[in-house]
């Protein structure tokens, strides 16, 4: 119902415009047997527009005020915290995730299903629940938090807290992407490498790892993007220093929609550009020629 109300307004003509132009495009050179695809495309287009329109409207509305957001040091700070946090989380995710992904792709063991389930879990756990769970274990009295705070690393309302929250939610994206890559590498390539004098480690670094370059990149991009977008878990464990989503939420609740909009638009602009650039890099032209 809300969706229907949302679409009425000035968007109705826009939808019709897109819809009809698409239909026209299809009917110009379309064969009878493609009619199913025409119908499917129209249906699918609604979803695509559902993503595109709100974001586009946000950008268009906020564009004149974008400079105000850029000039606000708090905004820039928050975006920087988000960027570096996501970068560190992705890096940690790769360092521990690649060995995990490789092992899962090569070995069967008791409890493998359980491990696989655990890896996917962050995708279904509500973000606030994840945040509370992390807070329990990483607080100054927590099982991990206590020894680490003795070593000078604090998580509550601190940068490391942001990193663990981001890491928690991005793990499934990193591990599953990389694992998919390793599964496509024939284990016999490693065996041949070993027959040529490489031990397992060398075979891994000279054959398997270069062959999953593309998956490493796309896993990192998706993990990074997921980390940037996290709000709930971060808000629970580390409201300070503000990440961009937390700062936007704070401005929205304390000042209002008009004030939050340009900051949101700026964050959208920056993440979107980085996302598009990285997607093109990882998708454009295969890094290795597949057989």
């Amino acid at each position: 119902m809300i969706a229907i109300l949302y679409f009425l307004d000035l968007w109705v003509p826009l939808i019709f415009f897109f819809g009809f132009s698409l239909i026209a495009l299809y009917f110009f050179g379309v064969k009878k047997e493609d009619i199913t695809f025409v119908i499917f495309s129209i249906l699918g287009m609604f979803l695509v527009l559902f993503i595109f329109l709100p974001l586009a409207e946000l950008m268009i509305d906020a564009l004149p005020e974008l400079s105000r957001a850029v000039e606000d040091p708090n905004t820039i700070n928050a975006i920087m915290v988000s960027m570096t946090g996501a970068f560190v989380a992705t890096l940690i995710g790769l360092i521990f995730g690649v060995p995990l992904a490789y092992t899962l792709s090569r070995k069967d063991f008791h409890g493998k299903n359980l491990v696989e389930g655990l890896i996917d879990l962050p995708m279904v756990v509500p973000h606030t629940v994840a945040g509370i769970a992390l807070l329990v274990i990483f607080s100054r009295k927590g099982t991990l938090g206590e020894p680490l705070s003795a070593a000078g690393i604090n998580f509550v309302d601190a940068f490391p807290g942001i990193v663990v929250a981001m890491l928690f939610v991005s793990i499934p994206f990193i591990v599953n992407q990389v694992r998919e890559g390793f599964e496509d590498v024939d284990p016999r390539l490693e065996l041949v490498a070993m027959s040529l004098g490489a031990d397992r480690k060398k075979a891994f670094f000279t054959v398997s790892l270069p062959l999953v370059k593309r998956n490493l990149l796309s896993g990192a991009v998706m993990g990074w993007a997921r980390a940037i977008s996290e709000f709930g878990a971060i808000a629970v464990i580390a409201f300070y220093p503000h990440t961009a989503p937390v700062y936007i939420y704070k401005v929205f609740t304390e000042v209002g929609l008009r004030a939050a909009q340009p900051i949101a638009a700026l964050l959208l602009l920056i993440t979107l550009s980085i996302f598009i650039i990285l997607r093109t890099v990882t998708k454009g032209g295969s890094i290795y020629d597949k057989d």
């Binding site: 390539l189 041949v192 070993m194 027959s195 040529l196 890094i287 020629d289 057989d291």
Partner: protein, 347 residues
């Protein structure tokens, strides 16, 4: 010399067991068997990719059963090449030399590439090569470290017949010039006979018979081997020793064999060892039977004639013979074959 003692290993419900073989230095040894016989697994055990659960493997009297593949120094070539897709042809061939820190790599790669005729392809990625070219590169890569032992897994199995023939001839030349031991597995009996100094026939993870090509083709010791190498004409009967020959009673007829057997036996005669003639003539052949032509089948380069002599006897003849003898269904004809061509075994 490679000595294999009673090795065994299971993969789920498939077993490789009781395999004992001695393979001489410089020998071209072929393991022949149908799909699913365990040939590739056997080769992978030899390479050290897997460890046997039982038994021992020796190379030059040194036990290597537990030695990892990188220390065995055996070259390995898979049927589907397994070239490193991210490396070009040159780097594929150079891989082993680089890993082992060899010097003078460029010159050696060029030399090898010329030898297997892929010199023009050195800059290309594997995905741009044809099957035959890929297999040449895979062979060059395996030879780069000058292994004493080369393991080939159906090396001509993924290419068309013509390319396979060319590769086969190249392997014969390489074997002559390199003098390394080659152990090759194949399901193709023609390939086995042409290449092998000796052949081991494998079925269900077990070696059924080892011998030179002549032995395998003409003196199978089991029905499986006889059928697999296409010996044809497999009959059961009772043998009785009479003077210098064994007479095998097949019910309606008695066939003479120079093999010394008594009691229940299986008998085989290769179809190309039988002569067809209008009249019987004096010869050293001990077996002359008159029969009626039951079937005539065109097999491309030869014809298969089935003559009923009490048992259906399959005979291979040339097109020329069909015309000369005016063979057609129902015609009466003599079949003539030597007692020494009649092979007997117990099963």
């Amino acid at each position: 010399m490679i000595k294999i003692e009673d090795i065994a290993r299971s993969w789920g419900d498939f077993f490789l067991s009781d395999i004992s073989l001695n393979i001489d230095d410089g020998e071209y040894f072929v393991v022949l068997g149908p799909t699913g016989a365990g040939k590739t697994l056997f080769l992978e055990l030899l390479a050290g990719f897997y460890e046997p659960e039982n038994g021992k493997i020796y190379k030059d009297d040194v036990e290597i059963t537990q030695l990892p593949p990188q220390k065995r120094g055996f070259g390995f070539v898979y049927q589907d090449y397994m070239l490193f897709p991210h490396l070009n042809v040159k780097d594929n061939i150079a891989y082993g030399m680089k890993i082992n820190g060899k010097s003078d790599i460029d010159r050696k790669v060029d030399e090898l590439a010329k030898k297997v005729r892929v010199y023009d392809l050195l800059k290309r990625k594997p995905s741009t090569l044809s099957g035959g070219e890929r297999q040449r590169v895979a062979i060059a890569r395996a030879l780069a470290l000058e292994p004493d032992v080369l393991l080939l897994d159906e090396p001509f199995g993924s290419v068309d017949y013509q390319t396979g023939e060319t590769l086969r001839d190249m392997m014969i030349d390489l074997h002559k010039s390199l003098r390394c031991t080659i152990i090759q597995v194949t399901h193709n009996q023609e390939e086995a006979v042409i290449l092998g100094d000796r052949i081991a026939v494998m079925k269900d993870g077990k070696i059924k018979q080892v011998g030179n090509p002549e032995d395998i083709m003409r003196k199978p010791r089991s029905k499986f081997v006889a059928e697999f190498v296409g010996t044809g004409n497999i009959f059961h009967g009772t043998a009785e020793r009479k003077k210098d020959v064994s007479m095998v009673n097949l019910g309606d007829i008695e066939i003479a064999s120079s093999h010394d057997f008594h009691g229940d036996v299986t008998l085989t005669i290769r179809p190309e060892d039988i002569i067809l003639a209008e009249n019987t003539f004096e010869s050293s052949a001990r077996n002359n039977f008159k029969g009626k032509v039951k079937e005539l089948n065109d097999r491309g380069i030869y014809h298969e004639v089935v003559v009923d002599i009490g048992v259906p006897l399959v005979v291979y003849v040339t097109r020329q013979s069909i015309e000369t003898l005016n063979l057609k269904k129902g015609k009466e004809i003599w079949t003539i074959f030597k007692a020494s061509s009649v092979h007997l075994f117990k099963e």
